[in-house]
Subunit: 507 residues, 4 copies
Amino acid sequence: MLKQLYTLGSLIETDRGLSFSLKNRIKGAHFNQILHLSINDQKVESHKILVALNSQQPIDLNTLGQNQGVEFPLGAVLNVFVDGISVPDSNTLSIDITISTNPFGDIDLSLKDKVSIPGAALGDLPRSTENDFHPDIVQARQNYVSEITGVKPTKLFNVDVELESLRGNIEHFCGIAQIPVGLAGPIKVNGEHAKGEYLIPLATTEGTLVASYNRGMKLLNKSGGVKATVVDDAMQRAPVFVFDDARQARDFGYWVADNIDEIRRQAEATDPFLKLRNIENYKSNKFAFMRFNFTTGDAAGQNMVGRATYAACGWILENHTNIRNFFLESNMATDKKSSFINILNTRGKRVTAEITIKRDDLVEVMRVEPKQIAQHQRVASIGSFLAGANNTGLHSANGITAMFIATGQDVANVSESSAGILYTEITDDGDLYLSLTLPSLIIATCGGGTGLGTQKECLEILDCFGPGNALKFAEIVASVVLAGEISLASAISSLDWVTSHEELGRN
Amino acid sequence: MLKQLYTLGSLIETDRGLSFSLKNRIKGAHFNQILHLSINDQKVESHKILVALNSQQPIDLNTLGQNQGVEFPLGAVLNVFVDGISVPDSNTLSIDITISTNPFGDIDLSLKDKVSIPGAALGDLPRSTENDFHPDIVQARQNYVSEITGVKPTKLFNVDVELESLRGNIEHFCGIAQIPVGLAGPIKVNGEHAKGEYLIPLATTEGTLVASYNRGMKLLNKSGGVKATVVDDAMQRAPVFVFDDARQARDFGYWVADNIDEIRRQAEATDPFLKLRNIENYKSNKFAFMRFNFTTGDAAGQNMVGRATYAACGWILENHTNIRNFFLESNMATDKKSSFINILNTRGKRVTAEITIKRDDLVEVMRVEPKQIAQHQRVASIGSFLAGANNTGLHSANGITAMFIATGQDVANVSESSAGILYTEITDDGDLYLSLTLPSLIIATCGGGTGLGTQKECLEILDCFGPGNALKFAEIVASVVLAGEISLASAISSLDWVTSHEELGRN
Amino acid sequence: MLKQLYTLGSLIETDRGLSFSLKNRIKGAHFNQILHLSINDQKVESHKILVALNSQQPIDLNTLGQNQGVEFPLGAVLNVFVDGISVPDSNTLSIDITISTNPFGDIDLSLKDKVSIPGAALGDLPRSTENDFHPDIVQARQNYVSEITGVKPTKLFNVDVELESLRGNIEHFCGIAQIPVGLAGPIKVNGEHAKGEYLIPLATTEGTLVASYNRGMKLLNKSGGVKATVVDDAMQRAPVFVFDDARQARDFGYWVADNIDEIRRQAEATDPFLKLRNIENYKSNKFAFMRFNFTTGDAAGQNMVGRATYAACGWILENHTNIRNFFLESNMATDKKSSFINILNTRGKRVTAEITIKRDDLVEVMRVEPKQIAQHQRVASIGSFLAGANNTGLHSANGITAMFIATGQDVANVSESSAGILYTEITDDGDLYLSLTLPSLIIATCGGGTGLGTQKECLEILDCFGPGNALKFAEIVASVVLAGEISLASAISSLDWVTSHEELGRN
Amino acid sequence: MLKQLYTLGSLIETDRGLSFSLKNRIKGAHFNQILHLSINDQKVESHKILVALNSQQPIDLNTLGQNQGVEFPLGAVLNVFVDGISVPDSNTLSIDITISTNPFGDIDLSLKDKVSIPGAALGDLPRSTENDFHPDIVQARQNYVSEITGVKPTKLFNVDVELESLRGNIEHFCGIAQIPVGLAGPIKVNGEHAKGEYLIPLATTEGTLVASYNRGMKLLNKSGGVKATVVDDAMQRAPVFVFDDARQARDFGYWVADNIDEIRRQAEATDPFLKLRNIENYKSNKFAFMRFNFTTGDAAGQNMVGRATYAACGWILENHTNIRNFFLESNMATDKKSSFINILNTRGKRVTAEITIKRDDLVEVMRVEPKQIAQHQRVASIGSFLAGANNTGLHSANGITAMFIATGQDVANVSESSAGILYTEITDDGDLYLSLTLPSLIIATCGGGTGLGTQKECLEILDCFGPGNALKFAEIVASVVLAGEISLASAISSLDWVTSHEELGRN
C-alpha cells in the first residue's frame, strides 16, 4: 500500500537538467534522503542531484543529509533535478529511485516516461500558468474561440466582472452566460430560521415556471404560509477499504468503531467548521464501505469532507495493518447521483415544508377540490412506484434548479436534491394537508459560487448571504418547492395544465 | 366526466356588468346556447346576457341562437356578461348555468365565488397585463425588490438584453444572473452526426470542474477521440385512466391498441414535427397507465407532447364509454424525476460514448494503470448497487449541468439526464475500453431557452444551433461526460483527487 | 390516543346475560371501576353488572370497588356481563361505557354491534375450540374436504405425525404435503462456526436443481472449500409515530435517543434471548419511522421482536405526550418483502461465502475459463442494473428455498432472503475469486417449524438443530448458494445450460 | 464464435480404448468427418478411431466417410474412441482435433484433461447411472446419510411414494419432507375463470398464518367475494449479444425487428404450447439485451422458454455476422430475483384482486374503521418508498408460499411472485375499496411438481389440476393473498396483531 502513497511526476527538461517530481499523499511523513537513483539502469551519482521542496530553492543531496531530511507534508511535492543526462532519440527514459522516509522506511519507486519540454502547449487552448485570469489571456481565449469556430460571440464575451473574483470558481474563463431571472412571491415562511415573507428570484428559461410557482405561493399565503423545518443535516464522503476476505472487512468495522475518537480528531483537524457526526459501515463481499457523515456549517461542504475523510483515511492506512486496497470514494456518497441511500439517510439538508390549505382557498385560487388533489396523489403514488421514481411529488427539480442557478449553488446537485416525498391528507374539516420532504437538498450560503456578483445579490434579496443562513435558506427553498407542487398538482387535477402552457410558454 | 371538461372562471365586476368565463377543455365541441342562468337562485332573463368568444366583441344570446351557436375549440374561453346584478355585502355570489353543446348535449355547471375587481393587485408584485416586458414594468419590479428587501442589486439589474426576446422564457422578469463560462477541449468526437473537434463552453461556479474535464479530453483525444452514438430517442407524457375495475382497465388497453391509428392522427395533428412512436400500456389495480412515446425533432418537446397527448386523450374520452376519471400525468413520464423506467426505456436521447484508451496514454496523462480503473469500477458497482444509485458512473451531472446552463437547456432536466451506465473492460492488449450510456439525456437545439443571447452563442460555438442538430449535440454532450468520467476515475484510483481540489478550488 | 389502547369485543348472549369484553392493550394499567354503562341509551344500574378478569370467576361491581380495582396487564381481557337486557329484533345494540383506570384516568368507549350466540358456526369449516388437533376434528375436516370438493386425497390425508406436535405451527390442520428431498455434497465449509464437510438435504420439485448444486460443490471442494463468514445479525420491527408536524416528529427522535436505556429495558424484558441493538430513526413528512434492530439468538425472531417492540412502544405512548397516531408496523421492517433497506442494513443474518477457484479446477469440472465467468458477470451486472434487480447473482433463491423447506424455516422469507451481491475477480494467477454476500438471510435453528419431524431431522443431518447453531447454519446456507452460483454461471458461460435441462428435467 | 458451439468432454478410459465426447450446441449442424486427431502432439491414424452418436453402436471413421456424415442435432453427443493410447504417469493428455461440419466448415478444437476411469466415484454420494430411483440406490443413500452424519432419520426416510414418479423433479432422492397443511376458506372468487367458492390448502409451519387468512376470507365473503382478473401473461428468457460498439448493438436491434417472423418460427418450433409474444430490446453500452416474452399455456414455462430462446439465438448466431459474444441469460429475465422490470412488465401472470368491503362488515369482523386502514396504507406507502420495497402491501409472500408448497409450484419463485401493489380508497358511501395487483405471479397447473402425489391432490381440491386451469389458479391465489392483506392490515391498524400472535403462535 505505501507505494501508492508516493507518486513520481512527469519528466521535464529544465535549465537545471532533467527534472521530475515526487508527491507525498500521506500525512505525517518525513523525507530523509534519496538512497539510490538510476536512469536507464545507469546509477546517478549523488552530487549530480539537486532537490527542492515545493517552490523552494533547490539544495543538493549532501546538504539534505546533514539537515536530517525535510518535513514532507501531505500533498507536498519534492522536485528532483539531475544534471548531465542525455536524452535518447526515443525521448523516453526509465527511472528507478529508492527513498528513505520516516516512519515508513525505504521505498522503491520507478517511472518510464517521455521527456517533455515545459512551455510546449499541452493543448491548443491558450492558458497562462502565471495568471489565467489576466484580461490578456481571457482575450486570447476569446480570439481563439472565434478563430477555430468562426463564431464571434458578443453577449457571451461581454464580460463586466472583476476577473480575479472568479478564481477558484472556474478555469479557462472566457465569458458570462446570461440567465433571465423572474420574481415570485413574496412567500410567507413559518420556519425555525426563516420567519416572514421572502421574495424569490428564479433563474430559468422555461416559460410558465415563474408564473406557476407564483400562483402556488399566492395560495399558500392565503392559508397562512408554509411551516418549514430542517430535520437533518449531513454531508458525506464514502471511502472503501479492500481486504483479503469478508472476515477481515467485518473486523475492520469493529476497529474503526474502537478508534472513532482518533479518526474524528484527524478529520476535524482539517477544518474548523467541520464535525464528523458518525461513520456508517456497510459490508459486502470483502469490502468495508465507510460512509463518513459530517456537518459542514453553512457551506455545502463536498470538498471539505473530501479533505477531512482523506486525512482520516491516511491515519487509518497508517494504523491498520491488513488493508489491501483503498479508494477515497466508492459511489456510496452518492455525490451527483440520485440514490435510495440519500433519500433514506439524508445528504445535505433534509427539510420538510407543510401546510393545511383551506378547502375554500384551494377552490378559489386553483378551481380544484381537495379530494381531486388527494385522488391524483393516490394514483400518482402507484405511478411513481411502477416507474421506480425518486420522487412521489411532481416537479421539485424546477424550483430547486431556478433557485440554485440564481444563488450560486452547485447546480449539478439537482441530481440528488430533486428527490422528494409528497404526502397529502384530507382533514376532518375537508381541508387539504400537504407536506413535502426534500431528503437530500444540498445548499450553501457561503463558499462555492455564492459570493459571485449576481449570485450574492440574489442571496441578499433572500436575506440569506453568508455564514449562519444555511438552515434558513433550506427552509425557504422547501417552501418554494411546495408552492410549485400544489400549483402543478392543481393544474393536473383540474386539467388546466396544457392550456396554461399554451398561453404563457410560446417557445 | 363531461362536466369536468368545462370550467367556470372567476367572477369579475366590469363595465359591461358582472362577468365570468366558461372554458372548453375538449376537442370537437360546438357551443349552442345558454339555456338557463340563475344567480343566487334568481333566474336571469336572457336579454340581460351578452357573450363573447375569446377577445371578440360581445353579442347577445338571441343573436347567438339565430346563428346556431359558435365553434368552441379546445382551450377557447366564452366570456359571459350579465347586466344589473347587485353584489351583496358578502361580495359572494352563486351561479347556476345550463349550456347546450354539440355533440355533448346539455350540461349543468355551478360556481360560488367572491366578486373581484380587475386591476386590483393579485399580490404586491408589480405586473402589467398589457406588456410585462416593457422597460417600465421591469424597472418597477427592480424598485420593488429594493424597497421591500433593502437590497440594491447592481449586477443582477444590469440588463443588457432585448426584453422582448425573453417573452415565453420567463415571467416577472427583473434581471440577469451571470454564470462564468470556461472552455474545455477541443474534444474529438467520432459520431454519426458530430464528426470532428469541438470546443466546449462550460458554465459553472465549481472550481476544478473545467480543468478536470479538460484533462479527460486531452486523454481521449490522444487515443483517437470518442465514438458516440445515439441509440434511441423518445419523449413522453403518461396519462392515467381510472376504471371501475381491473378488467375494464385491461380491456381499455386492447381498445387503445385497436384504435392506435386514430389516436396517432389526433396526437400528430397538433404539431408537424411530432411523431407518436408507440404507447406503452402499464396496468395496475383499476388503472390503465398509458405512456405515450413521441419523437420531437430537435426540440426537447415536453410541452409538445403534453399538448399532443391531451388532444389524443380528448378523442379517447369522447369515444370510450366507461372511463371514470382521467389525469393527463400519472408520474410515469417521469418528468423532472430520476426513475428506473427512464433508465430502462429512454427519455430524451439515449446516447453511448465509448473509447479504447491506450494503456500508455492513460499512464502518461493520468498516472494510473487500466487495472486500477477497472478495479475501482468493480468496487464502485457494488457501492452503486448497495446505495441504490441511478448511475454506475461517477459524476455525469457535472458536465451535463455546465453544458445545459451554457446552451439554454431546461436545467431542471439534470434530474433525469444525470443517470448513467458505465462499463469498463481491459482488452487483450491491456488497454482500457470505457463506455458510458446516458439513457435519458434531454436536450434541444431549438425552442425553450436555446435561442436566447449567450445560449444561442454557445450552441453556435458547438456548431449545434437550430433544427437538425439535436443528435449531434447529444453525441457531443455524451463525449464530454465520458471525458469527465475518466478524469475523475483516474483521480480516485490514483488518490490524486483531493489534492487537485486543494490546488485549484480555493473556495 | 388512549382510547385506541382499550377495545370493546363482540356482543354475545350467554347464560349470565349479555356479555362483551374489554381488552387492555397497554402496559402498566390498573382497572378501577365501571363508572357508567348504558345500552341503547338506557343507563344500566350497577348491580346488574358482573365482571370477570380473563377466565376468572365473575364478581359484581361493588365488590370491585371495595377491592380498589384489579391489575389489568397488557393483553388482559375483562369480561362484562349484564343481566336483564332484551335484544330487539334488529339484533343490534349500542353500548356506551365509561371506565376508570389508573394512571390513565377516565375513558369513554362505545360499541354498536350485532348480538351473536356462541357456538354458532363462524364458517362452514369444522373447527374445535377445545382441541383443534384432536384426531376427530382433523378427520372431520378431511371429510369436509371430500364432501364439498368431491376429491378424496389419499396421500395428503395419510397423516403419520403426532398431531399435538403441530400446535403453534398450523391451524385447521388437515394433512401433510410431501416434498421430495435430494442430497447434494458433502460441501466443505471453512466457517467460523461451520468447520468441515456437510451433506445438504434439498427439498424441491424442480429437476436439475440438486444436480446443479452438487456439481458446484464438487468444484468448490476441489479448490479447498468455501470460506463463510456471518458479518452482521439483526431482526426488525418498524413502528411509525404520527405527529402534528415534522418538527415534533424530529424532536421525538431526540427524545427516543435520550430515553434509549428505558426503551431497551422495556423491550428486552419480554424475552431473555433478545437484545435491542439500536433504533434507526427515519424521518419523512410528519412521521417518525423507528426501525428497532434486535438480535434474537438462534430463533428467526419475527414474533419476538414484534412483542418486544410493542412493549417498548407501550412505554413510549405512555411517556411521550404529543403522539397523534401510532402503527406497530410501517412497511419499513420490511418483513416478507424485498427491499433496498434490508440489502443495505441487514435483516436476519448478513453472510458472505467466498473462494478462490483454481483455473484448472474450473476448466476441468465446468469446461469454462475464469475470464468467461468474469465477462458474464460484468455483462450481467449491467443487466441487473437495468432491470432494477435485488440480486447481482443468478439464482440464490433456488438453494435457499430448497434448504428452507427441508429444515422448517419460514419459507415466505425467501422474498427477502434471496437478495444477493455477487463479486468476481480474476487473480494475478489467473484464478477466479468468487464472493457472494446474502444481506438478509432469515434463518433459525430453534422455534417456528424447526422442531417438526422431518424438519428437525434435516437440521440434524446438518448438525444444526437447536440453540447455538444459527450462525453455523447461516454459513452453510451461504456456501451452498455459492455452489449454485458457480454452477449456473458456468453453464450460462459455456452454453451448457439448456442442454442440461434437456437431459435431467423431463417435466 | 463457432468454436464455442462445440465442446469436448472429459477423457475416460474404456474397454474400447480412450474415449472423449464432442457435443453439438447449435441447431442445423451435420457432422461429416474427423479430419485430424492428435494426442500429445502425435497424430492418430484414422483406422484407430471409432465414433458413436449418442448411445448408438460405434462405427469406424471410414464407414462414416462413405455415409457422408451423420445428422448432428442440437445437444447430440458424438463419442470418440481411440485405441492403443498409453496414458503417461501424469495421467494427463492433450488432444487436438479438426472436424468437418456442414454448414459451418472445418473447426479446430483442443482439450487438455486428466484421464478418469468410469465407475470411480465422482464423489462419495452413492449414485446409479442406470437408475438413480431404484429402491436400492435410495436405500444406499439413506445408509450413507446415517453413516457419515450419525443421524438416523425415521420420518424423512419414511418413503411411501412411487419412486419413478419423482424422476425429473429431483436428483439424488433420499426422502420426503413433510409440511403440515391447514385449510382456509372457502373463499368466494368472482373471476373470469374461477367462479365460486374454493377451499384453500395452505402448507406452512408458521403459526397464525392459516387463521389470519381465514379471518380475511370470512370478511371478503361477507362483502360478496373477490373480483379477480388476470390482466397479463408472459414468461421470459433474456439473452444478451455483445458487439464491438453501441452502433452495431443498436443496428442489431433493427435487424431482429426485421427478422422477427423467422425468429418466432425458430422459437415456437420447440414446443407446441409456446407463443413468442414479442422481444423487448434494451440497449446499453455495446450490449443488445433481448428480452423474449412468451406465453406458455398452463406450464410455468421457465425451461420451455429457455429452450425456445436458445433455438432462436442459434438461428440468430448463424445469420447475423458481427456478434462478438453471446450469453443466453443476462440477468434481465429476472428469474428467481425480484426486480423493477418484472413489476413493470409482468413475469408469469399479472393478476388483480379487488373488492369493496362494506364499512359495517369491516367493523364487525375486524373491529377497525375503513379510515384507519386507509390511514395506515398512506403511511405505509411512505414507509415502502423510503425502504425501497418491492411491495406496497404487507405480506403477500405468506399466502403465496403456503399455496406454492401445497400445490407443487417452484417455490423459489416466491422471490419474484411476492411483489405487490396495494391500493385503497374510501368510497363515497364510506366503504373500503381494496385492490391488490400481483405483477409477477409465476404459477402452473401442469408440469414441474404439479403432478406429484400431495401436490396434485391439493390442485384437485382447488379444481385446478392440469391444462386449462392456470388462469383460474392465478385468480384464486390473488384472492387468497387479498384476504391476507386485509386481515393483517386490520390487525396492524387496530393494534390486534401482537396479541393474536401471543395467543396462536406459541413457538
